[in-house]
């Protein structure tokens, strides 16, 4: 064939070009969101997070009831509902339950995002529609985040409602800002796991395998991280039999820095600052400074707590964005056909 002339588009076709570009990701996100909230996973996860949340409220309520006299007028009581752990009870606080179980929420809505489309053979049909290819992964991430936000929001509101109605706790603007910021941080933390699960779903072809990969990282980070951090720190900054203060502090600080690679650590530290106005440091406080003026119990304003939590918040968001970025790039470089 020696046809060399370039056929020009019909004038009509050119006229259609002037239509404004539609946001394909919105359509994808809309479909994924309604799939998400109608799915069985949604119900399971509401129950999974709802039950321990009720337990946490219960133990906090008992604590507040027992110490009502001393707590009257205490600042931060409302946010303490989410963060407080009764020393006499086995039930962890709501914020720490979320640190443990939250990743499951992210993983549940991301692990089969892309390989599920491949398995159902819907991906070629989907990307053959007039949308950019990234609309698929962006739409799915936004929808996943929205579903997770909905689950988290519903449970947070439930806990708040119990605090208002049953415990009669009042809330001021400072505490409201604390709670809202904490909500954002928690969402970023779950967003990290959503993004990581989506990365697995792009790279790994079978949904079951990518679920396994995501859960493996979750288990490593929640159960073995402390162990690994201790081993690495012990190797890099060893503590001899009769250590100096500097050696001990050096080892402890290294452990802390290494632990901060984990989004879980970042989330927990940011939560501590945000949900407890009396927390001024989550770092190492040497014994001689504990009696120092800096350790005098005082309450911080929201802005002060936010400033303290800021590095953790930024690092957490950076991790989430990086993880989604990796998933995005991997997806864009893949061939449509498996």
């Amino acid at each position: 064939m020696a046809v060399t002339t370039q056929p020009e588009a019909l004038p009509i076709a050119r006229a259609e070009l002037s239509r404004p570009p539609r946001a394909g990701w919105r359509v994808v996100a809309g479909k994924e969101f309604s799939d998400g909230i109608l799915s069985v996973r949604f119900v399971i996860l509401i129950a999974l997070l709802g039950l321990p949340a009720i337990g946490a409220i219960y133990s906090t309520a008992a604590f507040v009831g027992n110490n009502a006299g001393s707590l009257t007028g205490a600042p931060g009581l409302f946010v303490a509902i989410f963060a407080h752990q009764d020393p006499n009870s086995q039930v962890p606080s709501f914020a720490s339950i979320l640190a443990l179980l939250g990743p499951l929420l992210g993983i549940a809505f991301g692990f089969d995002a892309i390989n599920g489309e491949r398995a159902e053979r819907t991906l070629p049909r989907l990307v053959a529609q007039p949308i950019h290819r990234d609309a698929v992964i962006i739409g799915k991430f936004v929808a996943g985040l929205a579903v997770i936000g909905l689950v988290l929001g519903v449970i947070t509101l439930l806990v708040s409602a119990v605090a208002f109605l049953v415990l009669g706790v009042s809330v001021g603007p400072d505490e409201l800002f604390r709670l809202l910021t904490w909500f954002g941080v928690a969402l970023a933390y779950l967003g990290f796991w959503l993004a990581f699960a989506m990365l697995c779903s792009v790279i790994v072809r079978r949904a079951a395998t990518s679920l396994f990969a995501a859960i493996a990282l979750w288990i490593v980070l929640t159960i073995f991280a402390q162990l690994l951090v201790g081993i690495v720190a012990g190797y890099v900054a060893p503590v001899p039999a009769s250590p100096t203060i500097d050696q001990q502090v050096g080892n402890a600080e290294l452990q802390l820095d290494l632990a901060r690679i984990s989004p879980g650590t970042l989330y927990v530290e940011a939560s501590e600052y945000l949900l407890d106005p009396t927390v001024q440091t989550v770092g190492i406080v040497p014994a001689d400074q504990a009696s120092d003026q800096r350790a005098i119990p005082s309450t911080l304003t929201f802005a002060q707590s936010l400033l303290l939590a800021w590095p953790q918040i930024v690092a957490l968001i950076a991790l989430t964005v990086t993880c989604f970025g990796l998933a995005y790039v991997a997806f864009m470089r893949q061939e449509v056909r498996a």
Partner: protein, 337 residues
């Protein structure tokens, strides 16, 4: 064999490029060492039904993905409805309906919901989309099944839903990858009839790929026989059959008489190169040579006092045509285009 309504005498317009729907120029796709599509040059006219025929792994799907802008060519270029799919994929995808090989749907949604999603992705408003979807479901014979979950659909139903899905955007070009694979013969007839009707009544240009020549040749105006990423031949079916047979033909000759005498007489016919006895019928002989032997046979056999009871040309059945192109390709000699 070739449909009457098609575009005879349009050669001039092909050259001017005025109504070419799909064109490729030395389109090439490499996957590492493997050349999936090798310098493919095609021109498909508007309103034409073009068949891309070749065995699995010939590079058909890769070609289609490049035409849709879903895969980037290693070199060469394509033009689809006037747009370069690599640079303007959205403009191409807005106008091209695509039925992928082994199409899939969201199993937990109904057929109608699946089509609604496609309509939304094409920016259609809900009311217009619903009217069109009703019409399309009726057209593909799924009017009653539209509200059932796709999970319950048979493969044939999925394939027909796939056709409806490709048509939702009211495309000017329809690209169908293996539209008749994995469905039963009655379903094949339905799908082909539907494709033919679309091309004829709505002027939709159709590019279909298949590895089953005999299933699709009736609906194709032109075909390209494709293997190892290269076109071995293209044109109307009748032309392809003719060009293949051009140098050598085989005739099945029925002659009664003593075998050795008949064989000697057949070998004596001018131009005859090969003589073989049919394995099943001892009175049948397969004679090969240039087309001229057709004329010499009767005369030369009569000279030996033998009469021809039966004479039939063999070897131009479609699948044989097809296979012979591929065997020539394997020999690596003749890459006719």
């Amino acid at each position: 064999m070739v449909r009457k309504h098609t575009h005879r005498g349009r050669t001039a317009s092909v050259e001017s490029g005025a109504d070419i729907a799909i064109q490729t120029q030395r389109l090439t796709k490499n996957y590492g060492e493997l050349v999936a599509v090798d310098n493919l040059s095609l021109a498909i006219r508007s309103g034409e039904v073009f068949g891309l025929l070749g065995p699995n792994g010939a590079g058909k799907t890769t070609t289609i993905l490049m035409l849709l802008g879903l895969s980037e060519p290693s070199s060469g270029r394509a033009t689809v409805v006037g747009f370069d799919p690599t640079r303007d994929p959205l403009e191409v995808k807005r106008r091209v309906g695509y039925l992928p090989d082994d199409v899939g749907f969201y199993a937990e949604l109904s057929g109608r919901q699946n089509l609604r999603y496609t309509a939304a992705l094409n920016g259609m408003d809900r009311r217009a989309a619903d009217a069109r979807i009703d019409e399309l479901l009726a057209e593909v014979g799924l009017a009653d099944a539209g509200d059932r979950q796709v999970e319950e659909y048979s493969r044939g139903m999925r394939q027909r839903l796939g056709l409806a899905d490709a048509l939702v955007k009211d495309p000017s070009i329809l690209i169908l990858d293996e539209p008749t694979a994995s469905i039963d013969p009655a379903g094949v007839a339905d799908v082909l009839a539907l494709i033919e009707r679309l091309a004829r009544e709505k002027g939709v240009t159709v590019l279909l790929s298949s590895h089953l020549l005999h299933q699709v040749h009736q609906v194709c105006d032109r075909v390209a026989i494709f293997n190892h990423g290269r076109i071995l031949a293209q044109g109307k079916m009748s032309e392809l059959t003719e060009s293949l047979a051009g140098d050598q033909i085989q005739l099945e000759v029925g002659v009664e008489g003593p075998a050795d005498q008949v064989e000697a007489a057949l070998r004596a016919v001018r131009g005859v190169k090969t003589v073989e006895r049919d394995r099943r019928d001892p009175n049948l002989w397969i004679v090969g040579g240039p087309p001229a032997i057709r004329d010499h046979l009767a005369v030369d056999l009569a000279a030996h006092g033998l009469n021809i009871r039966h004479l039939r040309r063999v070897g131009d059945e479609l699948d044989e045509v097809y296979l012979r192109y591929f065997s020539r390709d394997e020999d690596g000699r003749d890459h006719a285009a």
